[in-house]
């Protein structure tokens, strides 16, 4: 998949509490969650990002509490993908499972500047900021399979069909 959009740059160890505070964890509607993304630390964020924009962060993005409202809110804001130097592992897995494309590339994450035009090809592992190309590892094959299905829900539905087609299979 290829994504093109304006780059928004964030720092290191951006935690999920600043993405979506705990008091909003009883909100499950993605559009409602999106309204509160970064509201304590950057109230203008939700107005600045446009559908298709690309989020670029430093190390340990999505640190702390594992809460699906974080990747779900970013996706509902219309952000097309997240590039980071590294991800918290719960955030990584949640994003993949919810169909929010993310990719790890320390060099690109360090070089990115606010407002640049970005292009991300997740399958090829190629990231371009204002024409400068960075290469990174593609996703592991099994993880790419989930991404190709648009998230874990579709992947599981297909797996259920596969098992039903083989009599006597429970796994």
């Amino acid at each position: 998949m290829i994504f093109e959009g304006t780059v928004h740059v964030l720092g290191d160890s951006i935690d999920t509490d600043v993405m979506i505070p705990g008091r909003y964890l009883s909100i499950l509607d993605p559009a409602q969650i999106a309204k509160h993304i970064f509201e304590e630390v950057d109230p203008g964020f939700v107005q600045r990002v446009k559908p298709g924009d690309i989020l670029v962060a430093g190390t340990n993005f999505g640190a702390g509490s594992g809460r699906e409202q974080a990747p779900l809110g970013l996706k509902a804001l219309g952000l097309s993908c997240v590039v980071a130097a590294s991800f918290s592992r719960t955030f990584y897995r949640m994003a993949i499972d919810l169909g929010l494309p993310i990719i790890t590339c320390p060099e690109a994450a360090r070089a990115a500047k606010q407002g640049q035009q970005g292009r991300v090809d997740t399958a090829a592992g190629e990231i371009t900021f204002d024409g400068r190309l960075f290469r990174t590892n593609p996703l592991p094959k099994f993880v790419q399979e989930i991404v190709d299905e648009g998230g874990l829900t579709n992947w599981v539905r297909r797996e259920i069909q596969r098992r039903r087609a083989i009599p006597g299979t429970t796994r």
Binding site: D12, V18, L25, G64, E68, R89, T90, M94, L152
Partner: protein, 421 residues
Amino acid sequence: MGKTIAEKILERHSLDDAVTIEPGNIVRAWVDLVLLNDANGPVAIRHFQNMGGEAVASPDKLAMVCDHFAPAPNAAAARMLGDMRRFAKEKGIRHFFDAGKGGIEHTLIPEQGLLGPGDLIAGGDSHTGTAGAFGAFGTGMSWAGMAAIMVLDETWFRVPESLRFNLFGAKPAFVTGKDIILKVLQEVGVDGGLYKSIEFGGPAVAAFNIDERMAICNMLVEAGAKTGMVEPDEITAAWAKQHCKRDYVLLKADADARYEARFDIDLSQLRPLVAKPYSPGNVVTVDSIKGVHVDQVYMGNCANGTLTDLRQIASILKGRKIASGTRAIIVPATQKVYLQAVAEGLIEHFVDAGAAVTTPTCGACFGGHNGALDDGEVAVATINRNFKGRAGHAGSQVYLGNSYVAAAAAVAGEIIDPAKL
């Protein structure tokens, strides 16, 4: 080549003989327990339905605990608790714990004997790694991932690299398991354990009982770790014999196991530590920040709401008063811990001192309810995170420390070394 504890546990749960258990490989595996709470459970239930789930594949492997919003602070939270109740009833989930009947999941599940050494445990909550206190591999995962296990009875794991911490030396007074994990965070930082298993061994692990081991493992995720555990010993074996309802296995690392790095902690050099706002990795000695005024002290949560913690708190509060201008909230982690604290007279000391003692709940730890902070307020808490805005207003500040440090701050009205109270 030898194996780490995490590698041995994954090997026992692998469904894929063709995949070797080596860091970086992805392995399909079965799990012993899926752990849902009332924050992630209602979302996992929706995923389960969207996936076409009908019956839960292994209903007795699912535990559902109402702790984040229980008792409900508002109607939206009450609806989430209702979702939990309905699903548990409809799917025949035996291990369902409502308000008043359980407590905070990570303390409750071992107390109920629902996990054991050698287990592989997947939870929707990031502090599922607390299970490492019992020699189990616990890890927080995606909520859709929880639903997928409920449907398919299996999941996938990337085999983690491992770090080893060797503990030795005599434990000084007022140093607890909390200080070990704060020392680890000082050592490796908030991303030094990213994707890894952090394992503890050495002669001085015997200085920490099961409750303090839970405090150590609870915050491994604060270093980014996937999981981690205290190497099982006589203390683990005695606990397992008394509590476990299933078969269990005490797995130690091989002498030639591949650890990416090894660290030593000399306990005799440790002093009580505190993590300053706004990062659990911002660790200093309590002495270096003495005198900081404290508006609120919060003692409890899944890291430090055990009977051991309540006894430590009582040893400070007994016969003393909470300082004027400071308020204290004490939250036993489970109903059983609460009852034992009543029997031992600890609760009487707390109430006499002027502390609010509340029912088990995650409440204020995540800024949900039961003690949220306002702009400009400063708190000392025995919880696991002090990110900006986590415990209430973004202008509030939280210092993380052990139960002695917290209780001493409540009495002094400011941060103080408990030895100097």
